[in-house]
């Protein structure tokens, strides 16, 4: 029996009091508990930023690596030990900015991991600069005349690239987010959950501004319809759809071929290749010149 307290630790959070990140943390803990995952069966992976601190605030295995590099680290962890439930916790700056390239290639690879992107629309830890998702015109600490370059729409990019599970949640709706996270974690292949996370310190809008615009997709919405899904990611700022935006036809998860044809073991449990096997390989490497009977054949020529 897994209890939510199994995930409780006593590390004091460095987030601002009342930060919506606490809502995301709680949703994740309740989702893992409901899925009956035990702390040692999970590995949280993050980079740098306020979102990336989340793994410190619950009890489980975690890898808090370099800024932008959570995805490649998670890929290595997942390949080496596929029995772990690997979850990346990242932010819009970490995942879409510094690590944007890795996000694109994660879409191509389709590893069986979950990526939770806290999207607050700017850089919080470094005090309010624009991020890849800041809206045009918004004044930020560094963009004093307002942001001039257009934001990235990463959920749309994920949909275009056949990400098998694309969802959006809201930090202010813990129950809904919990259910999304449960589905994402249970989903085979890559699942991306972008979470709208209002920042109460550097944000342009109060939490209420988001509440007025967030709505949940209804039962009549068909997440397998790519066109509809793209439309949902391109709604004007007055409307922010949450729920499962897109489900692509299932495709082979990353490392499927190696798992099926070579080994599905946890790598740490494999014994090194034997010396005999390597010696045998060395002998056959250039066997063209090693004559079987070791006798000298007659010379041809003068």
């Amino acid at each position: 029996m897994v209890k939510i307290d199994d995930y409780k630790n006593d590390v004091p959070a460095q987030w601002c009091p009342g930060c919506p990140n606490f809502g995301i943390l709680n949703a994740l803990k309740t989702a893992l508990t409901a899925l009956k995952k035990r702390p040692h069966e999970c590995c949280l992976v993050s980079g740098i930023g306020q979102a990336a601190k989340l793994p410190h605030y619950l009890k489980c295995n975690f890898f808090n690596g370099l800024h932008g590099r959570a995805l490649p680290a998670a890929l290595g962890i997942h390949v080496a030990n596929p029995r772990l439930t690997t979850i990346v916790v990242t932010g819009d700056g970490d995942c879409y900015g510094e690590g944007g390239n890795h996000f694109l290639h994660a879409l191509r690879r389709n590893p069986d991991i979950t990526v939770v992107v806290h999207n607050n629309g700017f850089y919080a830890l470094t005090k309010g600069q624009a991020s890849p998702t800041t809206r045009v015109g918004e004044k930020r600490s560094l963009q004093i005349h307002g942001v001039e370059i257009v934001p990235l729409n990463m959920p749309a990019i994920a949909i275009v690239h056949d990400c098998t599970f694309v969802a959006r949640g809201f930090a202010g709706d813990g129950d809904h987010l919990k259910s999304l996270l449960m589905k994402a974690i249970g989903h085979p292949g890559l699942s991306v959950v972008e979470v709208i996370q209002p920042c109460i310190t550097w944000g342009t809008h109060p939490v209420s501004w988001y509440r007025e615009r967030v709505y949940t997709l209804g039962g009549d919405y068909d997440p397998t319809d790519r066109k509809a899904a793209l439309e949902k990611t391109m709604e004007a700022e007055e409307r922010i759809a949450t729920g499962i935006l897109f489900l692509a036809a299932s495709r082979k998860p990353f490392a499927d071929c190696f798992r099926k044809e070579i080994t599905d073991q946890t790598f740490a449990k494999l014994k090194p290749v034997s010396t005999e096997k390597i010696a045998g390989f060395l002998s056959s490497l250039r066997k063209g010149y090693i004559r079987e009977d070791n006798s000298h054949s007659p010379r041809v020529g003068p």
């Binding site: 962890i77 080994t263 740490a268 020529g301």
Partner: protein
């Protein structure tokens, strides 16, 4: 008598003096050289100024990229090895897929020299441009084999035309040329046939037969043209050397060490390492992934290692530059990591397909902050086995990043080795036993600085890693008074432990000599050859050679000697490192920075001793 030349016949030495008399194995006088029964038998096409069997012979094959220079070279190298000789093959090529002019040099000797020679006894030029570009390499009594007659002492054979007209396809031009080379060197055709059969086995019998026909055709044509200019013979010997490239040695050593994961981004000269492992995936069960960039590659490897797998990545200078932040990460989170850094000349893109020892200080200093790191620079293919397994073992034992610092020359060259004592390269694993631990602290402060390492999912114990400064459980800390200095101290304590495991440099003739050449990594055999040449010259010279570059070992340079550093770079990076570490002074330095490897003759010429 003053020895004019030293020959071998069927393995027996024959010494000929300046008066053209030769001594047989029994020591009896054979009379005038041209009049020996041996010569009259036709077994030796000796003539004035020639050598008979090579003590040391160099064959160069040159042609455009895509013309099959490498294939011809490999088959030739294997065939010569099949005759019982040691070969050393190295390539130099331009960074392009088609065209350009490239060469593949094969040095043949009875005992392995495993160092490059630059001059050619025989140059096989696969096109006219190659004959012109590489023509100056031909020794005074050497010959050229090429399509058109452009000089004396050459065998002109129109490979392409003959292949097309008489063999039905231009594709056989290479094998035809190979056959011609076989005749010029005096090779045994049957051994060549065996190697061709192996090489083309997968393409089926008709291809094997067609190539054999082409080889015989080339052989017969060249034998005709050889009259009076090909003194070489290759009598079969009983000895057998194993041919192995630096890359093959490296990849196999990684397998031997228990490596299960490699992620890399293609970059010459390191690409072949991951390719070799991918090609042999079924055999060795190593997971390979082509990453989107070097940053991803190294972070994937660190992730896999954190999860308990022995993991590595391989790159060259530019890619390594992108990996440097992660080198520091591995140091901070105390996760074993092996990075192969195959050097090529920089800065920036530099000369992508050439060689250098220009990244020594970069490797030693790579990574922001202060942490322990290992840098090993293998000397040759056999040493790659030893040092690669060692890199994995020490990275695991001290939970640090380890760099195997090699170069294009070492990776791309083919070495002859008598044996590879695989049993001596034993993988050691240092993961902790979770059952003996009650309250697990991943970064527990210990006297040696080494904390118990578990991997996530191994047991109920939770495993963490944090790039921030952290406490013993891996959580972010800003406890400047206690935890921070304790963690810094713990990580550096490991460096002192590591230093105690580092081996001193190799010393050759140091006691007797007054002048000592100091080198590192892949230039060892060129240095030894330089020593040999200098010895013959009457200059007593010793060598101190480093393969364990960082941390540097506790070592005392003998006093009263004059030291010269010899490096494949322009600024003497080893000299700088040794000066700061051992406070020694150098009397002079030899630098080579033209993209080509150091050789014995080059070193001797530079020293002018």
């Amino acid at each position: 008598m003053r020895i004019f030349m030293y020959l071998r016949f069927a393995g027996d030495p024959i010494v000929c003096g300046g008066d053209r008399t030769c001594l047989s194995p029994s020591g009896g006088r054979r009379g005038l050289w041209e009049k020996t029964g041996l010569l009259e038998s036709g077994l030796i096409n000796a003539y004035e100024g020639s050598r008979y069997m090579m003590e040391d012979m160099n064959v160069v094959i040159a042609g455009a990229a895509g013309e099959g220079v490498q294939t011809v070279g490999e088959v030739l190298a294997e065939t010569i090895a099949g005759h019982g000789y040691a070969v050393f093959a190295w390539q130099e090529f331009e960074s392009r897929i088609r065209g350009g002019q490239n060469s593949y040099s094969i040095r043949i000797s009875e005992k392995p020299v495993n160092a490059p020679a630059m001059k050619a006894d025989i140059l096989l030029a696969l096109n006219d441009g190659a004959a012109i570009k590489y023509g100056p390499l031909i020794q005074k009594d050497g010959i050229l084999i090429a399509e058109k007659k452009i000089r004396d002492r050459m065998i002109p054979i129109a490979f392409s035309d003959i292949a097309e007209k008489e063999l039905g396809n231009k594709i056989y031009a290479n094998t035809l040329a190979l056959g011609a080379l076989a005749a010029a060197i005096g090779m045994n055709l049957e051994i060549l046939h065996a190697v061709l059969a192996h090489k083309f086995a997968q393409k089926g019998d008709p291809v094997v037969v067609a190539n054999r026909v082409a080889a015989v055709k080339g052989y017969l044509l060249a034998r005709e043209g050889c009259q009076g200019i090909c003194p070489w013979k290759l009598p079969a010997r009983d000895t057998r050397y194993r041919l192995i490239s630096g890359t093959e040695a490296l990849a196999l050593a990684a397998v031997l060490a228990g490596c299960r994961f490699i992620a890399a981004y293609p970059m010459s000269p390191a690409t072949d390492t991951i390719t070799f492992l991918a090609e042999n995936e079924k055999e060795f069960e190593v997971f390979t992934e082509q990453a989107e960039d070097e940053i991803a590659a190294v972070n994937m490897a660190i992730g896999a290692s954190f999860a308990g797998a022995r993991a590595m990545t391989a790159t060259s200078g530019g890619g390594f530059a992108l990996m440097v932040e992660a080198v520091s990460l591995a140091g901070m989170i105390e996760t074993p990591l092996v990075i192969v850094l195959g050097q090529r000349p920089g800065p920036a893109t530099g000369l992508p397909t050439r060689t250098a020892q220009g990244d020594l200080l970069f490797a030693v200093h790579a990574g922001h902050g202060e942490f322990s790191k290992l840098v090993l620079a293998p000397a040759d293919a056999k040493d790659i086995f030893r040092q690669t397994v060692r890199a994995f073992n020490l990275a695991d034992r001290y939970q640090i990043p380890a760099i195997v610092l090699t170069d294009q020359f070492l990776l791309d060259s083919l070495f002859s080795v008598e044996d590879i004592p695989l049993d001596q390269y034993v993988p050691e694993f240092h993961l902790a036993d979770p059952s003996g631990i009650d309250d697990y602290h991943r970064y527990q402060v210990t006297e040696t600085g080494i904390s118990p390492r578990l991997y996530p999912g191994q047991s109920l114990h939770l495993v963490s890693a944090d790039s921030d400064e952290h406490d013993s459980r891996g959580h972010i800390t800003e406890d400047l008074a206690g935890t921070v200095p304790a963690m810094v101290g713990k990580r550096l304590a490991k460096h002192r432990e590591l230093q105690a495991a580092i081996r001193p440099p190799e010393e050759v003739d140091v006691e007797k000599a007054e002048r000592i050449l100091v080198g590192w990594g892949s230039s060892r055999l060129a240095l030894l050859e330089a020593l040999e040449r200098l010895r013959k010259n009457g200059t007593r010279t010793g060598m101190i050679h480093f393969t364990e570059m960082w941390p540097l070992p506790a070592y005392r340079f003998p006093e009263g000697k004059a030291y010269w550093s010899v490096e494949n770079n322009a600024t003497g990076q080893l000299a700088r490192l040794l000066r700061s570490e051992y406070e020694i002074t150098f009397s002079g330095q030899v630098h080579r920075y033209d993209g080509l490897p150091l050789t014995g003759p080059y070193i001797q010429e530079a020293l002018q001793w």
